[in-house]
Symmetry: C2
Subunit: 468 residues, 2 copies
Amino acid sequence: MATSLLSRQLVLSLQQNLRLTAPGCRYVSKAAAKTQVEFEYDGPSMKTEVPGPRSKELTKQLGEIQNVGAINFFCNYEESRGNYLVDVDGNRMLDYTHLLYSYWLSAFVNRPALGIMPPENFPEKLAESLLSVAPSGMSRVQTMACGSCSNENAYKAMFIWYRNKERGHNNPSDEDMSSCMINQSPGCPDFSILSFMGGFHGRTMGCLATTHSKAIHKLDVPSFDWPIAPFPKLKYPLEEFTRENAQEEARCLEEVEDLIVQWRQKGRPVAGIVIEPIQAEGGDNHATPDFFKKLRNIARKHGSAFHVDEVQTGGGATGKFWAHEHWGMDDPADIVSFSKKMLTGGYYHKDELQADKAYRIFNTWMGDPENLLEEVTRSGKTLLQGLYQLQDQYPNLLSSARGQGTFCAIDIRDDATRNSILLKARDKGVLLGGCGDRSIRFRPALVFKEYHVHMFLNVFSDVLAEHN
Amino acid sequence: MATSLLSRQLVLSLQQNLRLTAPGCRYVSKAAAKTQVEFEYDGPSMKTEVPGPRSKELTKQLGEIQNVGAINFFCNYEESRGNYLVDVDGNRMLDYTHLLYSYWLSAFVNRPALGIMPPENFPEKLAESLLSVAPSGMSRVQTMACGSCSNENAYKAMFIWYRNKERGHNNPSDEDMSSCMINQSPGCPDFSILSFMGGFHGRTMGCLATTHSKAIHKLDVPSFDWPIAPFPKLKYPLEEFTRENAQEEARCLEEVEDLIVQWRQKGRPVAGIVIEPIQAEGGDNHATPDFFKKLRNIARKHGSAFHVDEVQTGGGATGKFWAHEHWGMDDPADIVSFSKKMLTGGYYHKDELQADKAYRIFNTWMGDPENLLEEVTRSGKTLLQGLYQLQDQYPNLLSSARGQGTFCAIDIRDDATRNSILLKARDKGVLLGGCGDRSIRFRPALVFKEYHVHMFLNVFSDVLAEHN
């Protein structure tokens, strides 16, 4: 009994892993394309304040066991569907944070076991799913259990690659082998990863040395002496400030080159550069394709690996499957890491020894992705237009509306007002999240349609009127 | 459709998370205690060499996508049950490595989502399951996604604790807040974790700085200048070499104190000490309860946190739920980390501010654990006795048989012979694993009974005869 349940569940879990791998894509999987959409509610419905009495009671109970500082409310996942999250007090909210997907899609198979004794259909499924969306120029993928592990292991891959390049061969010396056991060079070399102020790449100690979004992540944890470059602080909308923005990007790129030279002179050469296509946790900070192209060339020029962290941006929300596709490059990166929306985590990487396979069979990944990405582009445009209008209407409240696809954000006058707006919107049944010091970010499901955007804009407009 | 499947699967996954949390404990869950046992096969059955043709074909396919160096063979999980693993070529093997459990029990819910919007029954289930087996003196538990993340976050907890102790309060200065953003002290202090040669605590960069089992894990990855103490090299059986072993342990403890003083003088104080109750990956190296008691006291004396890593040893295999229970201490540790067999990962920790809760309701954890642990103790004794006999019979092949419960190991003459024995045993349908330079380790399921031990000893004896 339990065996068949378990093996059934395993099969389900694998199927989900390999088929339902983008947010909301349960609605576009071949098996359940139509029936799902009918399930969706027709709007928010609020019954109590949030958190309601039941959530408060549960928070109290859980607080006796572990830290509950991050808990907003308790969820009724059985009743939640589509773009709507239902809490344990019966409140139904339009979900703009899209946390739900990570819950739905969270069951995944154990990677260590897969690495040793994978099930029969694993190669085929892996090829069909992950490799069908491999970034340009990459034919290999390494799966990992979580976002931090993906980046940690991507960094390790860059260090090993850099060291072998330095050696000129792949054979470590006896001194390498013995010194590494006691954490000393040459076995554990003094290499560094260059990262950007405002970046977020995870909270384990390697990742943390490249994370610079909030002090609370880093405080009291020992770190590495690695170079940190400024990320461009651009003015939005980008197309109205092209000259100033180009100057700002040039300044940052110059600083990157200076840091690479300085750290090489210090004896801590930059083995890799890591960057997000849009700094998400750091406040939805954008840069232009021109910036990323030039940065990629700087990495190549100095022999550093170029690692694009798509843990937040990958999966379709920007209107392209990978945000870096907006740069329009054939060779955008040496490593691309992913996680979260894509259920599993891991990184893609180049392999010069491997023939380039024609694996970009996009539609095995998630049904009818072209329509889906078109829809993301359309909804995102409507959303951004709406934000621009509101920004014109409330210039003392709003600024710097920005976005790619539905991956949008806007800045609020100050932190306190931002938080008040988040709460008021929630009371009206719209779940929004914050990022950076005073930004609101939008991360709807891929099935977020234009009428959801209008529903949101109406609520948001009401909330803003209360704050003016 | 998919929604109900998904939510069903989620519920299953949660139930498994919280009930079926030790290897083989699917056989003791209330729901399926009896029916399962009947399912078990009556012995190994080999149809082809291993890997067989189907496994080879699949390995070739997967090799085009990712690294297959670690793959032994492909598994038919639907047909595998009890102590038997069935491969895709129809070979049925007695599983002494117990990798199967990690596959069965691998689906787990997304921790980040749980931290923000947990489902209604989470506090209750968490209390019933994880806290029911909390180590002595610990009333709080923090869940994490994997073993490396568990240790990384346990280290961070120790650093934060140590820094607050140093400050005398919990309020970071402005300098702390600004310097940590650029990886510099005082915000990122130069603290260290003392670890032991031969230890294994994971492969992310923080964990890796405390891992010293094999060069291949560490080579080419930058590390921290942290102190590394010798782990006692004892003679087995321990009770026959008490005097020499006590001297060896005293030598190691003295070195620990010297290192703590040296690193404090260097300006890199030891915030925590991390150790496994049995060094598993490093070769199943044991130490006596006296060693651990004294080490715990050294940590207390010098103000360092004491972290016991039970990622490998926790869950019952040693005949106690936690291996550190063999030390017989009321206050064995400040932090105990766990993972793997226990499905989820995380760490327990002390909280002086929290009333000590009487949460040791062991039997909600896994049905009838007392009988199970008695059985582990009985099977383990039979196994170790059998290993002693074989060691007497083949003194030029075998040495240092050792174990707690069924967590046993034995050393083989050399690496090549060890590997040959592993392969021969597999050909006869017994799956064994290696650890250290030339050890074989035994990690059967908790439901491994005495007749399984005899079955194994017969096969092992045949294999040894071929190598004599």
